[in-house]
């Protein structure tokens, strides 16, 4: 048995039955990390001792006859954006190099309470700003399908960890597509839950009104199991939804699209979309029809303005959220030679500590919020947000879910778009409207693009609080494709 190729659900079952111990499972994954992570660079920090201690505690719990949770003993790769008490948290930035938080994020706490084994912290674009993980201050991550290609971003470390079998589960955060786009380009599954479903307390903020943590996995069921562990009301997050978590696991176990109305958004194709991506997407729509769904074309005209609105709202919020990194209370301090003022030391620290993309967005946001420009930029972007929400509402009056390609192209080469921010931003064209409106979406593999043999993602979008629909549809699609391919898509990835 190859432990690292097991699903999270499979691992949990085998630990409960005694077929495997949590320590065995953890050691197998640590060994895999040792073997391949030098090439992949999915992790910024591996917490070997902590992971083994957590695993031992699970085994002891079982030995005492205590009931184990559905993911007890399953290893997980945690995006380095969530605070972990006693474990470094860098957000992929030099400005937080060496910072050891004195507190756990709510999500971290929930994972620990569920006896999930946290292997370490994964690489990411600095402060989650990017679509390639090239903006990490600690070097890029490779796409396990082709190490010269990007693994998506900002959560490229988490998606690469899954695709390289370094972990069966991972956590991502999605502000404009940072869970879904990495999932798409690595052939894995990623879910952006409804905004407010997963607590943001302890998740280092990029854009507060858009950021949302979520599950990453290799199967729809695994994502659902993780979703259930991390979602739920948190009194420490004022924007957390105080309502029961939708029945995502049940939905994932009962995949079906029979009788569902599935919308295809007119706006999500055209110039900039790779032919092979559209081909796989069209086949997916065909598959949905074969599985009993009714396909409806829907028009969401305001989506054309989504990218523009996003690149005003996210930078604006980030310019304020990142102001706290001033070199005075934690993290990097540069230029304090005993003669300089606090003001100067802060400016020098931020100059040295932030990478170019972060500076660019902080500057852009400062501009958009500054007096005289606020109404034209930030104010208008908020209006666009209303229009996009209305488009979704109208669409969901006609259909149960929407589908689209997750991202217009497959993984591009590392370095290819590094000097062209506008080209980079296009990677999130299909994912951003969901962040602006706050509803839920999933990406799952729908095949390889014929021209480059790289994974293509299918995006499923559901109304807010109907996250379970993603899993119901996702599980049905996953089952049908797996049957068609004869194996999970990842099996086709070259071995590392």
């Amino acid at each position: 048995m190859d432990i690292i190729k097991l699903t999270a659900a499979g691992i949990a079952e085998k630990i409960v039955s005694g077929e495997l111990t949590a320590v065995q499972v953890t050691e197998a994954h640590l060994a895999r990390i040792d073997a391949v992570d030098e090439k992949v660079h999915a992790f910024l920090h591996v917490d070997r001792e902590g992971a083994l201690a957590q695993a031992r505690a699970v085994d002891e719990k079982r030995a005492r006859g205590e009931k184990l949770g559905p993911l007890a003993g399953v290893p997980l790769a945690l995006k380095d954006i969530f605070t972990t008490e006693g474990i470094p948290t860098t957000v992929g930035s030099k400005i937080l190099e060496g910072w050891i938080p004195p507190y756990d994020a709510t999500l971290t706490k929930r994972l620990k309470d569920a006896d999930v084994v946290i292997l370490g912290k994964t690489n990411m674009d600095e402060f989650a700003m990017g679509s390639s993980t090239e903006n990490s201050a600690y070097g890029p991550t490779g796409n396990p399908w082709d190490l010269t290609k990007i693994p998506g971003g900002s959560g490229g470390g988490s998606s690469a960890a899954l695709a390289s079998y370094e972990a069966p589960l991972a956590i991502g955060t999605d502000t404009g597509g940072s869970i879904r786009q990495p999932a798409a380009v690595t052939g894995t599954v990623g879910v952006k839950p409804t905004y407010g479903a997963v607590s943001r307390y302890g998740m280092v903020a990029f854009s507060s009104s858009l950021d949302q943590g979520g599950p990453c996995a290799r199967t729809v069921l695994d994502a659902a199991l993780l979703h259930e562990v991390i979602a739920g009301h948190d009194p420490l997050d004022s924007t957390s939804i105080d309502a029961p978590v939708p029945p995502v696991v049940e939905a994932a176990r009962n995949g079906s699209v029979a009788g569902m109305r599935v919308g295809v958004v007119k706006q999500f194709r055209g110039e900039g979309y790779q032919a092979g991506v559209l081909q796989r997407f069209d086949e997916s729509v065909e598959l949905l029809r074969e599985l009993g769904a009714e396909i409806v074309e829907v028009d969401c005209p305001s989506f054309d303005l989504a990218l523009a609105a996003y690149y005003l709202i996210a930078p604006s919020e980030c310019s304020s959220n990142l102001a706290r990194f001033d070199g005075l209370r934690y993290g990097l301090r540069t230029g304090d030679d005993g003669t300089r003022s606090a003001e100067d030391v802060t400016a020098l620290t931020r100059e040295a500590g932030f990478g170019p993309e972060v500076k660019r967005r902080v500057m852009l946001g400062t501009y958009a919020l500054s007096s005289g420009y606020y109404d034209a930029y930030y104010g208008s972007a908020q209006k666009v947000r209303t229009l996009i929400t209305r488009d979704f509402e109208k669409a969901f009056e006609q259909v149960d879910v929407l589908v689209s390609p997750t991202t217009p192209t497959t993984a591009f080469a590392i370095g290819e778009r590094a000097d062209d921010p506008m080209a980079m931003y296009l990677a999130d064209l299909c994912t951003i409207p969901t962040n602006l409106a706050g509803n839920a979406a999933m990406s799952l593999p729908c095949g390889l693009a014929p021209e480059d043999g790289l994974p293509v993602g299918l995006q499923i979008i559901a109304p807010a609080m109907k996250d379970d629909r993603l899993y119901k549809v996702g599980a049905a699609v996953e089952a049908a494709f797996t049957e068609r391919w004869g194996h999970p898509l990842l099996e086709e990835a070259p071995s590392l």
């Binding site: 938080p101 004195p102 307390y201 997050d237 004022s238 209370r329």
Partner: protein, 502 residues
């Protein structure tokens, strides 16, 4: 920098009309901070009341303190404001080391309370209405200590030390509309407004509003316009004027200074100024190269506050009688002058006297003890009247003992001393110290006889009709009885024994 000639106050007023704007920050007396559960208790060790949220650690989020909102609404209602049906917090973005997030969570164009007024009573009884623009919620900053410069000043300091215990304590900022028409009484109006606001805040029980503790801080905006004109002049903003007297002095100083600048043909610079307690002057703050641009936007980590109308009405029902109304009522009940009432107010004795009367004392006695002996003791010990270890009920009991003749004033003072020294209730002090008046005529009679015998010459003068000389014999008897005799009764007995009509 050119030195401005100050124009004498009266001369300034002869040419110019002052317009004021007062911004008062009140620290609420909630148990916890505005956006986190850290304690607000004073006097704790540095940085011992901080958490990820109020330290601005990466990832931490705010949650609104319900009592903070409730207090803000009650203050708004007491100021006759409208209460917003729906309002939000906003971020005010600027860098400052005492502000952990480098933005202040405040309210911008959607304050919780707006459009109100506060009537203040000037010393001659005239009522002046100060219009309120808004009252909004925000958070306090940390405290910095400057090391290496002279006397802890920021200038010349080598470095600063930051304690964030105060960071995040709820503040209510109350902003007036431009105060026009106060004329020469502007300084008095400013002081009376801040004083009245402080009383109101205390009466609401939302803060102790102790200015000397920084729980209430005032910024004074002032501009002058030529008499008879409408358009406002350029204003200066004097920051952190932190006592009632200073508010009055700061307004007065700025009027003289502005007039000096304007008379010399100069222009007032819109700037912040610092007030100096030592001489009542103000000096310019650091000149900023460019205007502040706070880049306000709605705080995305918090959701809107939409106080239900039922809740607002319920809170309206909890409002106390307005301090000015209550003071006027009490003044009439007690039958005293505006001036006496003002002294009682300044001494912080209104509540104490009222409670003493409620405990059975008559109003004259209650006022006499609190404003006399007890005020003197408080003053000596440098403590607030209310903090003396004696209760209104105890004072009322002492007053009762005087009223029924068991004590005279001198003995009563000794009883007070005993109570303050922790010797127990007034009756116990009387008992233990043996302070009962000697009213037994036979015991007094013997003392009187002795005094007459020892002062035969004086006794003869009295017999001869010089009744005034009796005072000397009374003094001798009082001395012999160590003050525990009723002086009036002693006098009666002396005259009786000497066969003289009193």
């Amino acid at each position: 920098m050119t030195v401005t000639e100050l124009v004498p106050y009266e001369d300034a007023l002869a040419s110019y009309d002052p317009v004021m704007g007062l911004e008062v920050h009140v620290e609420l007396g909630t148990k916890t901070k505005m956006f986190c559960g850290c304690s607000t208790e004073l006097g704790a060790d540095a940085n011992s009341q901080t958490c990820p949220t109020c330290l601005g650690l990466p990832g931490a989020l705010p949650v609104v303190n319900a009592t903070g909102v409730e207090s803000a609404i009650r203050i708004g209602l007491a100021l006759h404001c409208e209460i917003a049906e729906w309002c939000r917090f906003a971020r005010k973005n600027y860098f400052y080391p005492d502000m952990p997030k480098n933005f202040q969570t405040s309210q911008y164009d959607e304050p919780i309370a707006f459009n109100g007024y506060l009537d203040v009573q000037l010393e001659d009884g005239e009522i002046f209405r100060v219009e309120i623009e808004r009252a909004h919620m925000e958070e306090d900053t940390g405290k910095s200590t400057h090391v290496g410069g002279a006397t802890g000043r920021i200038h010349g300091a080598r470095h600063s030390l930051l304690d964030y215990n105060r960071a995040g304590i709820p503040l209510i900022e109350i902003v007036t509309k431009p105060i026009e028409g106060a004329g020469e009484r502007a300084p008095e109006v400013a002081k009376a407004y801040v004083a009245e606001l402080r009383e109101l805040i205390k009466a609401l029980g939302v803060s102790e509003a102790r200015m000397e503790m920084g729980q209430m801080r005032c910024d004074v905006n002032l501009s002058l316009r030529p008499n008879g004109t409408e358009k406002f002049g350029t204003r200066s903003e004097t920051k952190n004027v932190n006592s009632l007297r200073s508010v009055e002095r700061a307004v007065r100083y700025e009027i003289s200074r502005h007039a000096g600048v304007l008379n010399a043909g100069g222009k007032i610079v819109q700037e912040t100024r610092h007030f100096h307690e030592e001489d009542g002057s103000t000096t310019a703050g650091r000149i900023k190269e460019e205007a502040e641009d706070y880049r306000y936007f709605p705080e995305p980590d918090l959701v809107p506050v939409a106080p239900a109308r039922e809740w607002v009405e319920e809170l309206r029902g909890t409002l106390p009688e307005l301090p000015r109304v209550r003071r006027n009522r009490l003044r009439e009940e007690w039958g005293i002058s505006e001036h006496d009432m003002q002294s009682i107010l300044n001494a912080g004795a209104v509540d104490l006297i009222e409670a003493t009367i409620a405990a059975g004392a008559d109003s004259a006695a209650a006022r006499k003890w609190w404003m006399g002996e007890l005020a003197r003791r408080a003053n000596e010990e440098g403590t607030a009247l209310a903090e003396l270890p004696i209760s209104p009920a105890q004072v009322a009991r002492i007053a009762a003992l005087v009223a029924d003749g068991s004590l005279n004033d001198k003995l009563a003072r000794q009883v007070i001393e005993g109570v303050l020294a922790g010797e127990g209730e007034p009756d116990a002090v009387v008992e233990q110290r043996g302070l009962k008046l000697v009213s037994d005529d036979s015991a007094l009679g013997a003392a009187v006889d002795e005094a007459i015998a020892a002062n035969a010459a004086i006794a003869d003068k009295i017999r001869a009709g010089k009744v005034a000389a009796a005072g000397a014999l009374v003094g001798a008897v009082m001395k012999a009885t160590r003050g525990q005799a009723d002086a009036a009764r002693v006098r009666e007995l002396i005259l009786e024994k000497l066969g003289v009509e009193g």
